[in-house]
Symmetry: C2
DNA sequence: ATGATGTGCAACCAATATGTTGCACATCAT
DNA sequence: ATGATGTGCAACATATTGGTTGCACATCAT
């Protein structure tokens, strides 16, 4: 894993590492494309806060925006999600090996 | 998804959302259990910084520590990783649906 | 017992993240 | 044209993060 790629991956996880943004992602996933104003309705925080969260998600290439008339619709973009999935899959795959390695280290220490 | 669970999931992603911690995770995965001092060797940042990162990972239940003699070994704990995987899998699964939903919204707007 | 090595704790600093408010600008409908 | 609605920008406040340093304590080997 190259350093740049590692950073990129970290950005994706960091973007998902916030309860508000996670909620936004699931909402965009289930409902579809929505504006910041839509997303802010019924939410405790302001529209501007939502916009900032959307910008974080967009910086990580997890969402895209598109102007449509006077409103801006945000939607998920899944290409980067696969990267994160691949990482977690790798961890899961290496899991048993890591555990046995730990075991032997502890036992021989 | 309950609110508490959402927060928990966000913590996992947040813990992975840092290049240094990501490197720690991969190192622990490939090498096995290591002490903070081990992990800090050859690294640009101090042992204390590493310890703090390990504590973040441990707070998210991604690693555990175990004292062994005078040193403390940190190791990965994979149970929580599955949660994160499941979330990303759900996103991937809902993907095509989300895209078509966006498409129709945009076209009818 | 003593030095070397590893750990734990706390104070402190700088940068970034999260959220607010206020206001200006753009767009749509009437 | 004008009011309603949605967006964009910027200043600001505060909390959290990521890192440092210094020092005290614990453990091991000789």
């Amino acid at each position: 894993m190259s350093n740049g790629r590692e950073r990129e991956l970290a950005d994706i996880f960091a973007a998902l590492g916030d309860a508000t943004r996670l909620a936004l992602v699931t909402q965009l996933l289930t409902v579809g494309a929505l504006s910041a104003t839509n997303l802010a309705e019924g939410q405790a925080i302001s529209r501007q806060a939502i916009v900032k969260h959307l910008q974080v998600l967009e910086a990580a290439a997890l969402v895209t925006h598109e102007r449509h008339g006077k409103e801006v619709l945000y939607a998920l973009d899944g290409s980067r999600i696969e990267e994160a999935r691949a990482f977690l899959n790798a961890i899961s795959a290496g899991w048993d090996r890591a555990l046995s390695c730990l075991k032997s280290l502890v036992e021989t220490a």
